[in-house]
Subunit: 330 residues, 4 copies
């Protein structure tokens, strides 16, 4: 399934070098005003090409509304949004076909889809699919109103200073990974279910839909494994459930506790590194030296924050619906 | 939902101090022989009471088959298994009712269920629900046959040596966390979907159903965020997709690549520490000194490996069904 | 899947001659008082053995609550209810094994489950599974409060008079079918979705889970196919949407319109007729004369009304949840 | 949800007078060749404007492939198809806004979506949404290969002769209903599940997504309610399960039995009749005389057969996937 959500359900589709990518949203409440300017800031933040370390591929990336809106307001019917692919240079990729790129989905896509996959630019397995995710996230954020979601980079290449981490990658002529943190404020207590539909379960499920994510941790996360209990437990201070510390990252027993929701994700270095690699050639059946051409991000983590916010908003909007905390008509 | 899976669907139910906990499995192929001895090893591994650092609560924990089996063979109809709660001492918990235990679900359960929750021993929010998970995992493992799943503790309290980490907790009279690693061999390439149903998404979803998990990472995980691309990429060596290194942990683009699946989870220290804590009293509305009585694990991570294996097997069995790689009749 | 519902989710399990049948309900709001007397009237209505034309098999059919209740109130956790099978006489069925009974699931169950199915009394394919449906329906009805659901027999064997239709079957020594009508009052307008989750879609989906149902029609139903438009259209009379006639049966465009919901189902004659039949013997591979022994209903339609009400209540409770019209805490 | 299916999942979207209608198909096997000519016959059959008794609205109705195809072959990624709305004359509908048309969704849409619904031509509640259904059906039919699905009209306005039934409606200047029958040959035994996912449950669920359907019956259907058991039971003749009669319509115990699948649906008369009606005016709050203008089908049943085939194919393709009877790569 390329879908997520039980009430507010988001489905993405499209290919990197096909005609378009897009999103279908079923279950969005009626009465939400949506206009182009609502989308521009997050779409712009996601875009490559303007920032050091991101791809020079330039796309306009404007949402084209195909269904579910009437006079710029959601109708309650499914919303479909397309984003056209205009600036495709598939020629860059054709020559890679004989070498499944290390770290890319080329090999597994071939295994899974028997060679029928669209291999141009990774086809459906492309970071370009984060564009419709961001589009859906804009809608989810608007639904969440006073709940604020903010993601930011906390590390690039192991450095707390984004600039210097990135500079090192540029000097090394190699791609590099990073850490992105997401914080949510204003979330009510009581969202999520024990066990399979815990808030962590649902967020992690959706977050691993973002390409290049290799790990997720909530609150103190992996550091919690090295703490003692009395140190890790968050003392409850008042009847609203405010806690003295927030090692739990706002989730206890799988349920939101009304404190700030905090989690971090690890992004691997972009698979398309300019460096030479030694890997299999499908045609010869032998390994050989190989290097990736084409236009790529040196540090894909730089473009993740708006995507992480979008995915978080999508999950939380669905959870709010499930708890009757979002009206069906606004 | 207290359920997981699209074809092989597992639903758990029950309370810590209610009459029983149990599991319903819908979509299990017909023709699988299941007998008591199949269940005993994993149920025994999960059990507390025999190991240093685990709860002295002793339960027989034998599966009682209620449906779906005929002459010890699965029939294709839904399987229901109960485990009785015999050794309950709810008195231990009644007195805690006025103080929502820090790190426990007491507070959020009250928010979510309006005071109607069964609060005895955490009620439905109890590690005891991992018992039916292990039961379901036994069945999933048998379905997976030659695919081997093995979880083990790699750290306790920050020490690579389990014994010494545990000893330090005993000396400190405090609970302690740990890291558990899971490795799966024999998995075919091609499982999972790009984006929302990636192998990582589904495993993470299910794994966060295990109480006390605070993070998950695949392959090199968080360390990948500090690596360069050429270092992180796994060179493909042959037509079967074997890779020189396995930083990806067996998953690329959300799809299994046929190499060993590797991931790790962080377990927080048991919330029920013997140490004194200062936290809210619901009756007075004031914070006060408080300490947890009752029988508890000092290090819950010790009991996690069979649970992690079970959850992993459940996810993989469902993925195998989705890819037509498990017959409907064995 | 042996489950139904997106928020209020009902799963049934068990076999006719196994140890028990039962139901798991996930997503039931917290705070609903449930006691044995709530269940008795509908369980009694469903029971055979006291009425002319129903099976002499006598079961106590008392619900045994296994999870989800605390002090007789729902907790918000999954509810599990068992009903024991005590009065089983499998010997009656063993001898049928060589002859797949016409009209029964014996043949298809064998095809589907490869001979591993529990064949005793139809195993999982048994009318006895309507018992947990009725149990779940009791809970759903209590949730729906002022919405009243009432099913009644309108025809037996083609006669509008139940007594005479039944009498004719007794005289013929053959089983007989019937029509059951369901009416729901107090339903709010706006339930259901256009297309796939129309009220008719969901009701029909659930209603065909009742064994022996061969057709369903809403409002004027099949008669509508013979009407002219101006005759069939229901003129709207006031701002609440009351209509002069109710040919639509309370549903327009897949959505409830606030008028009485009306539909009817066709029940085939009980497959287990006392009459002799000529059909295949699996052992010989030849057809032969055959007659069904055992205890059976002459007219299964007689026992359907409480089951139809239950199924209707289950669907409507889920629809009310989906529209935020049922609180999560009562 | 505007979606149907667990593996082969179809989602429809769009509005009658919006920019387009369309469909998203997730879970389609890779390797299926799809070209424009595959779609034309069924799209043409569905089209109005060429046949007596159907709407003069003329649309080109050509599928525009937006994702999931590469070199005219399915890739395994989600397929998105748009159909543009070109020949819209919304002016026809604007004037109706003050009068919710009897038999139409105008009133309930307003209740459900609070006035935000796109009311032009019924908006999302439009027969035009059967166009993407037919598009998805073409794909499902190709997947089903040797399984043949054929729907035909058996009655118009109570007459077995379509011509004369239609002629009577034309003379009466009123719309009229009809009966459509669907027959499926080549279906394997063993599809479907007992209870909630019976073949009847799933077909009925999907069939009631077709606007104007008021009833469905399988095999002998409602007539079964008037039959005796020995008369209704289908004697099994051989080891393949062929039966002497086919009163069951190819489904026993919710499972396909390998015989011809037969069912019928009742279609109500088109709600938009040329006749004058007396109904509520929303603006005045009073009832008044009213007649529908615009271009409409006099007998919508005439256009149902390809839609019914499409919906049937969609359900069966999903059932085949669930039983491992459709490979993931063709």
């Amino acid at each position: 399934m390329n879908s997520f959500g039980r009430i507010f359900r988001v489905s993405i589709f499209g290919e990197s070098h096909g005609e378009s990518v897009g999103v279908n949203i079923d279950g969005c409440p009626a009465g939400l005003t949506l206009q182009l300017p609502d989308f521009l800031p997050d779409l712009e933040r996601r875009k490559g090409g303007t920032q050091k370390g991101t791809t020079p591929r330039q796309e306009e990336d404007l949402p084209i509304f195909k269904s579910g809106l009437f006079n710029n307001v959601t109708t309650g019917a499914p919303i479909t949004i397309l984003f056209e692919n205009k600036n495709t240079r598939s020629g860059d990729y054709e020559k890679l076909r004989s070498v499944p790129r290390p770290g890319h989905a080329d090999f597994v896509a071939h295994q899974k889809f028997g060679g029928y996959e669209d291999y141009r630019g990774g086809g459906h397995f492309s970071g370009r699919l984060t564009l419709p995710l961001v589009g859906a996230g804009v809608i989810a954020k608007k639904l969440l109103k006073d709940i604020t979601i903010s993601a930011s980079i906390t590390e690039i290449g192991g450095e707390k200073n984004v600039e210097s981490g990135l500079q090192r990658a540029i000097e090394q002529k190699d791609s590099v990974g990073g850490i992105v943190e997401c914080r949510v404020n204003g979330l009510p207590a009581g969202l999520g279910e024990p066990f399979f539909d815990s808030v962590e379960s649902l967020l992690a499920h959706a977050v691993f839909a973002i390409p290049a994510v290799r790990g997720i941790e909530f609150g103190t996360g992996f550091a919690a494994a090295r703490m003692f209990g009395v140190e890790h437990n968050d003392a409850i201070l008042d009847m609203e459930g405010r806690t003295q510390t927030n090692h739990a990252g706002g989730i206890v027993g799988g349920i939101s506790n009304g404190n700030e929701l905090v989690y971090r994700i690890a992004i691997k270095p972009t698979s398309s590194t300019p460096k030479q690699q030694h890997t299999l050639n499908w045609e010869t059946g032998e390994t050989e030296d190989f290097s990736v051409k084409g236009r790529h991000d040196l540090c894909i983590a730089l473009r993740v924050p708006p995507v992480l916010e979008a995915v978080t908003a999508i999950v939380l909007a669905d959870l709010m619906c499930l708890e009757n905390k979002l009206p069906r008509i606004l």
